[in-house]
Structure formats: structure tokens, C-alpha cells
Symmetry: C2
Subunit: 260 residues, 2 copies
């Protein structure tokens, strides 16, 4: 008997920030058959809340510096407001879900990022994923819903990249399931020409990725996503798909597929 297929789906800010799009996605996601797991980013909400509370938002190279006040805001917004909103709306669509941070079920342990060369504050790099509790729930048709917060097993919560959370979960669960990882974002995939939605690169592999990076076709914000994707397929994840969320539900949608 073959392994069951598990879909690990990550949604980003473009869906989170658009309530109608989010509710539409959650309805489609609920109707998806078979084992599944959702990872969500935070969108602009944390920045908006920080402004309201008078907490300064510090970024270096497009990455947030998580000081102690920012961590509070992120935990409240991601693990609180967004995560529970998603779970409540999945329940409304008859999809039984449970919200997770990495602390819940001790599922994702991370270590605080070294403070040199840049001190990112309470940012965590994943060191261990424990899948027992997740498998227990998934096998009962219950869907884990992850926000991008981890813990260090010493009581400290840490802000962690949501793309990385998704790939690390997909990799860890690949020992039990045939795992597929979907990165949903606002574009139709990795584009040859960033201004041309029809220039989707259909297939990326560990073999052709270096050339795409050297030619600057993959750069900036896409680079970490691709690194996470290549890391995933190099660690037994069957395939990674990058594109609009429609790619999951509509077989006629273009997207970028990353396989080994």
C-alpha cells in the first residue's frame, strides 16, 4: 500500500489582506479532499497594529527586526487574530481544523538567530520538527493551521519565516506521506519577465536552478522561496508548486513546478 498524499499549502499576505479572497480560499480549501495542512503568513496586519500601538517597524534588507514589542504584536496578530479567524471560518465550512504555533504540540523548535552580522532580534531558525501530534490529528481528518511562530523549548517564542515553516513541515511529514508543497502568492508562478504574467517558468529543478539565479531571473524576494523549494525536493518532498492559489483547485491554471 502506497503512502497517502498530504498537501502542505502556504498562503501569503495577498490573500490574508483581502477578506473576500481569504474567505473564498478557505471555502475551496475546505472542499479539498484528503490530508492537508495550512500555513499562513501575516500580511500587513502586524505593521498596521505596530503603527496603532506606536511601535516602530524596523526593517533591514526587507526583513523585519523583531524586538520584544514587535514579537508581542506578531504573536497577538498571527497566532491570535489571523489564526483564529482562519480556524473559525474553516469550521464554518465543515473543515475541522486546529490552530498551531510551533510551541503547540512542541511541533516546531527553533533557535534564536545569531546576532551577527545583523541582530534580527527574536527571529528563529528551525532546528527540529515533531510530527507525532500532527499525524495523530491528520489521520483523524483534522487539519493543522500554522502561523509562523516557533519556540526554543525554553519558553521563548520566536518569529520565523512562513515559507520556511511550510517547507520544514513538508520535509518532516514526507517520511509519512507523499508530500506536495504549494506556495500561493499574488503571481502566476516564477516569471521569466516579472512584468509578464504569461512568462511563467513551468519547471524548475535542482539542475537548472543555478542558471536561473545567475541570469537574475530568480532574484530578490523570490530567492528564499526557491531555496526553500529546492531544499524541500532534495528532502523527499514530491513536488513544490508556486503560483496563485487557483493552481490547487483548477487544473487549467499555470504555475511553476519544482521537482527533483
Amino acid at each position: 500500500m502506497g503512502m497517502k498524499t498530504l498537501k502542505v499549502i502556504k498562503i501569503g499576505g495577498d490573500i490574508i489582506d483581502d477578506n473576500e479572497a481569504l474567505l473564498g480560499f478557505l471555502k475551496d480549501f475546505s472542499n479539498l479532499k484528503g490530508p492537508k495542512l495550512l500555513v499562513h503568513g501575516g500580511g500587513k496586519s502586524a505593521t498596521d497594529l505596530a503603527k496603532k500601538m506606536g511601535v516602530e517597524v524596523k526593517m533591514i534588507d526587507g526583513r523585519r527586526i523583531t524586538d520584544v514589542h514587535t514579537l508581542d504584536i506578531i504573536v497577538m496578530m498571527y497566532a491570535g487574530k489571523i489564526n483564529k479567524y482562519i480556524v473559525a471560518n474553516l469550521q464554518a465550512n465543515q473543515c475541522n481544523a486546529i490552530g498551531f504555533s510551533g510551541a503547540d504540540g512542541n511541533s516546531i523548535i527553533s533557535t534564536k538567530r545569531p546576532t551577527t552580522p545583523v541582530d534580527f532580534g527574536f527571529a528563529g531558525d528551525v532546528t527540529q520538527v515533531n510530527t507525532e501530534v500532527l499525524e495523530l490529528l491528520i489521520n483523524q481528518n483534522i487539519t493543522p493551521v500554522f502561523c509562523a511562530i516557533t519556540h526554543d523549548k525554553n519558553g521563548q517564542l520566536l518569529n520565523t519565516n512562513a515559507d520556511t515553516i511550510a517547507s520544514e513541515l513538508a520535509i518532516a511529514l514526507a517520511k509519512t506521506y507523499q508530500t506536495e508543497l504549494y506556495y500561493c502568492f499574488e503571481k502566476s508562478g516564477v516569471l521569466r519577465d516579472i512584468n509578464d504574467e504569461f512568462s511563467v517558468i513551468e519547471s524548475i529543478t535542482p539542475d537548472n536552478v543555478q542558471e536561473l539565479i545567475q541570469n537574475k531571473i530568480i532574484s530578490d524576494g523570490m530567492l528564499p522561496k526557491i531555496k526553500n523549494s529546492i531544499n524541500a525536493v532534495n528532502h523527499k518532498v514530491n513536488k513544490v508548486c508556486i503560483g496563485k492559489s487557483e493552481m490547487i483547485f483548477n487544473p487549467f491554471t499555470y504555475f511553476t513546478s519544482i521537482t527533483k
Copy 2:
């Protein structure tokens, strides 16, 4: 073979608001053997955050009016910051825990309270408790940690009294476990004389409770707690204990015991 004993423990604002007391409690709680479940209130944190965000706190008869902004604050603070802080610190003490709102695992469904005579806004009255997921986890030695938020199964989160959450969970789980409910607060129990910590009433039953209420020995803030307690022992909960959290860990502590 008899049923296993499950301890349902509710901690209130006095512990939540005192970080040292909270960490001490979580350490003791982690060392507690056998099936257990934690319910936490919110303390002053939500009011503090509301002030910071310029959201007006409205109370009627000591009860919060939950408008849409207040609900956001409560969800962020209770399900986000406090719940994840507790879970992370239980993990640090080797107690495997998972944070829950009533939406998670569809565990507690409520209905929005009628708007007459007083419109409490997004306040929920519990209508159904589903214990399957909780039992699945408890039987794997994983401890559910509940904040006092429920959902209406139509996507709406609702603010719910934490004492009621604790008694409803204890009642629902009493069909599977010998259930004990512990209400921890700042006093040593129900006091005959509110100014005398040594006047703890040792035993309350459905038979003597009316007299205590008529004589105003039980009044004000204690009244809903006692009603929840009597309701619990009338619905197969073995006993309810009211007092300082020490009552759970130290056999020489005074507390009030409510039994049938």
C-alpha cells in the same frame, strides 16, 4: 476498570497578571501527574491593550461589552499572547500542551447572547462541547490549554466567561473521565467573612448553597462561580474546588469543596 481522573484547572487574572506567580504555577502544573486540562482568563491585559489602542472599555454590572474592536483585542491577547506564552512555558517544563480556543477542533460552540435586556455585543453562551479531539490528545498525554473564546460555527468568534468554559469542559468530559474542577483565584476559598482569610467554608453542596446565597455570604463576583460549580456537580463532575492554586499541589491547603 474505573475511569481515569481528569483535573480541569482554571486560573484567573491574579496569576496571569503576576509573571513570577504564573511561571511558578506552570512549573507545578507541569509536574502534576495524570490527565489534565488548563483554562486561563485574561487578567488586566486586554484592558491595558484597549487603552493603548484607544479602544473604549465599556462595562455594565462589572461585565465587559464586547464590541467588534474589543473582540479583536480579546482574541489577540487571550488566544495569541497569553495562550502561546503559557503553552511555550509548559513545553519548557516538559509538559506537552496545545492551545485551544473553542473554534479549534470545533471544541466549544456558543451562540451570541440575546441583545435584550443588555446588548453585551460579541459575547457567547455555550451550546455544545465536542470532546473527541480533546480525548484523543489527553489520551496521548497532551494537555489542552483553553482561552475563553468560543465560536458560533458560522465563522464568528465570541467572548465567553472563562469560569463557564471550565465548567462546561469538565461536564462534557465527565462522560469519559472522573472529573475534578479547580477554580484558582486570589482567595483561599469561599469566605464567611470576606476580610478573614481563615473563614473558608470547607464544604458547599446543592443543599446548603441556597442558604449561603440568601444570607449574602455568597454574593457579587462569587455568585457566577458558585452557580457554575453547582451546575458542574449536578452534571457528574465529581468535585469542584475553589481556592488558591496551592490547593492543587499542597495537601495542607484550605479551600472550598463543592460536592453533591
